[in-house]
């Protein structure tokens, strides 16, 4: 016999209104007794940490002093930022001659000038801008930083880079102001405005060649003072090493990843072995290998300096990590894409270059930026084998007589610097990912 009671049970309370501050707090901070205790405990720990750091780093900190002793005399419990600020130039530029520092700043400015058009929506020819950044800028910057006798090869590359930067800047200016490309503008001025496109291209190339000759003549008239690589240091050296690493890691990684996914067994086995070899050992062992074994590999009379050894090691190491990132991206692209490309008659390189790789790279943007951040952070390891990169400089503060034993403050400063750079990079990669995502969200 079924018993049916007809009486209303007590109605449940309405859900908490999250729109008000009190409601939000009840929902997210004090939803249960345990949660309330945890909230209060966490708040207390955060308060202790933040106030401790604040008092040490700001309230009690000493900003102006000549020695560490003086810092102690003023306030022993505060941070001694005076030591860091006394070494500020060293931290950024190393022991680069002070009167030549403008060259580093100028080099960075040129890089900014070169890459800025990539962010301007109305500028034409972004692929060419990107390619010239990777293939021409490093030579111009390299010469700017090291100076000395140019030699034929460097003369050619520097002149090409000068033409590149001028053409790039003019192209960007025209793009923003008049919404047209440099090629178009030159052709109009020379009276070929109505000529067919192929002819316009030829005219533009001839124009560039003339500029190149002019630049070559101009650059052979001066020479930058030589600065030995042993004087390079600080954040500048870190950026040089990681910059070259980044510029070479992506192409190297793409080649290795394609080799690992190749159908040809010899190429596949060799690429796989190479990638796995470098991925399974720590970077520091690769750096030691570079400094101890590379000299044995070189034919007699050829001496690589330590910086070159380190850069080669960093490039090899990072290309292998990038290869795995790219391979993961390639695996995520459905097979139908490659098959579709084959059907419309594209060969291997066409399929890879036009269809599969662009999708794979776009897919992996956050991971690629993550690898770059890892590379930037890993570059600090070169301080262990005796290069004075930013960490090497930060550590030498504690060995400088007036600041003997000053360890904490330089390291905290360095950590903050890296945090700002890496955090900005990761935030930007999220933005880029959102901007470029054209696929359907599942």
């Amino acid at each position: 016999m079924a018993i049916v009671t007809i009486s209303t049970s007590n109605s449940r309370p309405p859900p908490i209104n999250e729109a008000t501050l009190i409601g939000w707090m009840r929902m997210h901070l004090f939803s249960s007794p345990l949660n309330s205790i945890l909230t209060i405990l966490t708040t207390y720990i955060i308060y202790l940490t933040v106030s401790g750091v604040w008092v040490w780093g700001v309230v009690d900190a000493i900003w102006i002093a000549d020695t560490r002793r003086e810092c102690f005399d003023i306030n022993i419990s505060g941070a001694c930022w005076a030591g860091v600020s006394a070494w500020m130039e060293n931290i950024f530029y190393g022991r680069y001659p002070r009167e030549e520092i403008w060259r580093i700043d100028f080099g960075l400015f040129l890089l900014f000038l070169w890459m800025a058009p990539l962010w301007m929506p109305r500028v034409r020819g972004k692929v060419i801008i990107g390619m010239t950044t990777v293939f021409l800028y490093p030579f111009l910057a390299g010469y700017l930083f090291s100076g000395g006798d140019k030699g034929i090869f460097m003369s050619v590359m520097v002149s090409a880079a000068i033409v590149g930067i001028i053409a790039n800047t003019l192209n960007a200016t025209l793009g923003v102001l008049a919404d047209r490309s440099l090629s178009n503008f030159v052709n109009n001025k020379l009276g070929f405005g109505n000529a067919p496109e192929e002819k316009q291209q030829k005219v533009f190339l001839i124009f560039l060649a003339v500029c190149f000759v002019l630049a070559y003549i101009w650059q052979s008239g001066w020479q930058a003072e030589i600065v030995s690589w042993t004087k390079w240091g600080g954040l500048f050296l870190t950026l040089v090493i990681s910059g070259i690493g980044i510029a070479s890691a992506l192409p190297g990684g793409i080649i290795l990843a394609m080799g690992r996914r190749s159908k040809l067994p010899v190429i596949r086995v060799l690429s796989t072995a190479f990638i796995e070899l470098f991925r399974s050992v720590p970077l520091i062992t690769v750096l030691f290998m570079a400094t101890t074994m590379f000299p044995l590999f070189m034919p007699e009379g050829v001496v690589l300096n330590k910086l070159v050894q380190v850069i080669i090691a960093v490039c090899l190491f990072n290309a292998c990590y990038m290869a795995e990132t790219v391979r993961a991206g390639l695996q995520a692209i459905p097979k139908g894409q490659a098959e579709g490309a084959h059907t419309i008659g594209l060969g291997y390189w066409g399929t890879m270059g036009l269809i599969v790789m662009p999708q794979a790279l776009k897919h992996m943007i956050p991971n690629i930026v993550g690898s770059f951040m890892g590379l930037l952070k890993d570059t600090t390891l070169v301080s262990i084998i005796g290069l004075f990169d930013i960490l090497g400089m930060l550590r030498s503060i504690s060995r400088d007589t007036p600041w003997l034993g000053l360890h904490k403050e330089p390291l905290v400063f360095g950590a903050m610097l890296f945090f700002i750079i890496c955090f900005a990079m990761s935030k930007y990669s999220r933005h880029l990912e959102a901007k470029l995502s054209t696929g359907h969200k599942v």
Partner: protein
Amino acid sequence: MAIDGDIKKAVHVKPKEEFDFFNDERVRSVFYQILTACVVGFCVWYLISTTAHNLEARGMSSGFGFLTSEAGFDTDFKLVEYVPGVGTYGDIFIIGMLNTLYISALAIIATTILGFIIGVLRLSNNWMISKAALAYVEIIRNTPLLIQVIFWYTGIFSLLPRIKNSLDLSGGSELILLNNRGLYMPWPVPGDLLWLTEATVVIVIIGIVVFKRWAKKKQDDTGQITGTFLPSAAAIILLPGAVYLMSGSPLGWDIPTLQGFNFQGGATVPPAFLALLVALIVYHTAHLAESVRAGILSVNRGQHDAAKALGLRQNRVFSLVVIPQAMPAIVPPMISLWMNVVKNSSLAIAIGYPDLVAVFMQTSLNQAGHAIEIVGMTMGFYMFVSLTISWLLNIYNKRVQLVER
């Protein structure tokens, strides 16, 4: 009939294949492979021959004979017997390997536990906790590990009080002491009858496994739930405890005591060890927390809602529905993180903890030369470890795939 045959013939006629030697795919692939093999082979041959030539020109010997010659230096942390002046480079290699594996193993265990906790806290409904976890993860992940290692060493563990004013971590009983020479703690000295207690622990664990299986079978068959946690916990504590007491407490403790200027007895770990251990744990916990969070988020929200709709409590929703499904997404990054712990422990060299790279690749290489052999052995060790770990990963992946079908 005739027409039929004609049709058959017509069907079976193959189109004449024109063999174009230069555009045939097979010829090309063979050609490319031979070309690659030749280029790589030439590079290898060139490297080997120049190296041999250079070694000869500089009068350097090669071979592994140096491993049996004595190394004239000592390391300040070792897990095996070693007498400086008598011990060989081979011994140094073993000490280095053990030191690397020891600190990596400790760091891996702690990281795995803490990483899961922080990863779950990151997803906590409690705003304060999730934001605190986020701040921790972001700060740690965006600064170089090497800076953190050096910071822990020079900024924290080297600035601890001297031996006379050691910090007492055991609350006034002076058993566990921390000072700028390291951490001093009591070390167990097993007695004769300790094997009885150890055997009991093993038996109890086997018993618990059987008990759990039985409880699960019972739940599958009848639907009745048998609580296993409390009985198991009681058994694992009480039974070995009783045996231990009955056999006369066969475990002595070697306690550190201050004699002269230093502590004698007990176990000691140097500050560099502590600094590296803490740095490795803090750094990799932040990374693992991100993987755990991503893994849990990868489980469809509907699974969570459906489990709640069935009436499961929040912790059961997690332990029975969400976590088991998140594991396949968490374990692969977790295992490659373990590999990273082993590799990153090589940063010990910056603060003087005698790991493999520091004692073998730096000190021994500087003293004995033999760059090729030493670099090869060191890299070989790391490769062996990472191959072992990725082998484990493959086993796991296979098992998960079988379950998934």
